[in-house]
Amino acid sequence: MGDSNVNLPPGFRFYPTDEELVVHFLHRKVSLLPCHPDVIPDLDLYPYDPWELDGKALGEDNKWYFYSRKTQNRVTNNGYWKPLGVEEAVIGRSGNKKVGTKKYLVFYVGEAPSGMKTNWIMHEFHLSDSASTSSTTSSSTRSSKRRAPKKIDTSKWVLCRVYERDEDHDDGTELSCLDEVFLSLDDLDEISLPNN
């Protein structure tokens, strides 16, 4: 599993934008279109704990990606995912159209509601209804045999990105907090003082 079928030079990795996850991966999955490269596995509703995802989900840069069925109660072997109640719109690259929704969840060890919070975070991507109907007229015929005709069943699949929150994460791709401070202090250097 994982990125074994993609042979890229060092430094290239699966580092998708939210939009790519929704538009390229989730949308194609829902539309039953082939995904190339087919790197993200479908884990259905397997009750894997987040630390068990390695080797099962697509792992890259300490993040794990997999498709899953939509569910209200994401319960695993040793805990459960609790929604944060935060939703973010995923906006398409071209134009300002909303293509999907990103939900945040936190992993708790133990049984709800008395579990212990962990640093494991899940981003759960959902397709927008409008996004799937308007942009996939060709594939909508395919799903017309289902219960909801003229519409892809967007309710069925979600795409998950799981990672463990790292407090002092500095991979160099952003300005560290310390750098920010130094940077702002540089401003003060340039003010010349009268010598009293």
Binding site: V6, P9, D171, L175, V181, F182, L185
Partner: protein, 423 residues
């Protein structure tokens, strides 16, 4: 699957050149300095003196997918044959190092260093800071020696990454968060939610704080005398001497950065007392404003009143407060505009947002007030106080004016306009 960077085929969707620092140093730069062939031409050679950051962006594009960072090899050239300072000037500006170099480790072993640079437009020392940041990676000398490469020091290759600084306005009013729906009240936003958004760059290491304080302390020493002077002579000639050099633009930039950084840390959110040690008789305090009376600035002067603890302790609240005062705008709209105002270098906000001439001064006052809050807030720690005082002399002037007049403010107070001249 094969890829070609500047050729026909492309990087598959979702994949990006996102090397670790170790890969940059140990794979790419090591190969470069030892003249080994690198399979793919993903990292180009760039002459830093000839290309502006925005040109580098074009030259170092990989594939067609959107990129947030760009990579290239560059020579570390010397400004003077004998000197150690490097010359990184371009036609439009120059790269200036900031902070301290960071050591890069690989499997617990030190392999190189990372230097952070900022691009300034214009010429030193009057350059205007931009959002372009460069990380310059160099291999340690011993790393190079161990690979038996002799030419490396002459070559002086470094590998660089440039990117545009994100304006981390870690308040929920920021443009980034504008599409976020939060089920709970934003003011009582629980730690989970804040944690989500601040997750990557939290400043919770004591070591980091210590470093900063040392750094600040060093700089602040020079200014202590000035502070004493300020405290004793509120707005006399020292302000006049500063007025000429005070630049609102710079002011907004720096205060914005402080906002950004210290949002993370409760310790920094407490606003300072506005009075100086020598003027306790006229303490100003301002209280959180819930209403939005357009004629009320939200600042009331209570003599001998100690309400500092009730002061606004959150920049988001503060932004909302100021925003709510902007005439004719809903809080949401206004705060978003305010963010724009704070992040854009140009100071044309006042003129563009005011449609009615008769409101103009009023708005300016609000903005001045907001600036004043920010500047004095940033000075909650002594060193900051020291350094900020000169920077924000205009606002200090405002405050001292307020301190003297214990009557509540009105928009027609002519003193409020004094500092507008510098705009």
């Amino acid at each position: 699957m094969s890829i070609s960077v500047n050729g026909q085929s492309q990087v598959p969707p979702g994949f990006r050149f996102h090397p670790t620092e170790e890969e940059l140093l140990h794979y790419y730069l090591k190969k470069k300095v030892s003249n080994q062939r690198i399979d793919l031409d993903v990292i180009r050679d760039v002459d830093l003196n000839k290309l502006e950051p925005w040109d580098i962006q074009e030259k170092c594009r990989i594939g067609t997918t959107p990129q947030n960072d760009w990579y290239f090899f560059s020579h570390k050239d010397k400004k003077y044959p004998t000197g150690t300072r490097t010359n990184r000037a371009t036609a439009a500006g120059f790269w200036k190092a900031t902070g301290r170099d960071k050591v890069i480790y690989s499997n617990g072993k030190r392999i190189g260093m990372r230097k952070t640079l900022v691009f300034y437009k214009g010429r030193a020392p009057h350059g205007q800071k931009s959002d372009w940041i460069m990380h310059e990676y160099r291999l340690d000398d011993n790393t190079i020696d161990s690979t038996n490469v002799e030419t490396t020091q002459e070559e002086g290759w470094v590998v660089c990454r440039i990117f545009k600084k994100k304006n981390h306005h870690k308040t929920l009013d920021s443009p980034v968060m504008s599409s976020v729906t939060i089920s709970t009240d934003t003011r009582s936003c629980n730690s989970d939610q804040m944690m989500m958004f601040d997750s990557d760059n939290q400043m919770n290491e004591e070591g980091a704080l210590e470093q900063i304080f040392q750094y600040v302390g060093r700089r602040a020493d020079n200014c202590k005398e000035e502070i004493k002077y300020n405290n004793n002579h509120h707005n006399t000639r020292i302000f006049q001497s500063f007025n000429s050099s005070t630049d609102m633009n710079k002011h907004m930039n720096s205060s914005t950065t402080f906002t950004t950084v210290y949002n993370d840390n409760e310790r920094f959110l407490k606003l300072p007392s506005l009075d100086s040690p020598n003027s306790t008789s006229s303490q100003n305090c301002y209280q959180p404003l819930q209403g939005s009376d357009p004629n009320n600035f939200g600042f009331s002067n209570h003599n001998h009143d100690h309400h500092q603890t009730e002061m606004i302790t959150n920049w988001a609240t503060l932004d909302r407060l100021v925003a709510s005062q902007l005439n004719g705008l809903s809080t949401d709209q206004a705060s978003r505009q305010l963010v724009c105002f704070a992040t854009q270098p140009a100071m044309n906000y006042c003129s563009t947002s005011n449609n009615h001439d008769d409101d103009h001064d009023n708005h300016d006052d609000h903005l001045q007030m907001s600036a004043a809050i920010r500047s004095s807030s940033s000075s909650s720690n002594k060193p900051y106080h020291a350094t900020h005082t000169q920077d924000y002399s205009n606002e200090m002037e405002l405050w001292s004016t307020f301190a003297r007049s214990s009557s509540s403010l009105s928009s027609s107070n002519p003193i409020c306009h004094v500092s507008n001249a510098s705009l």
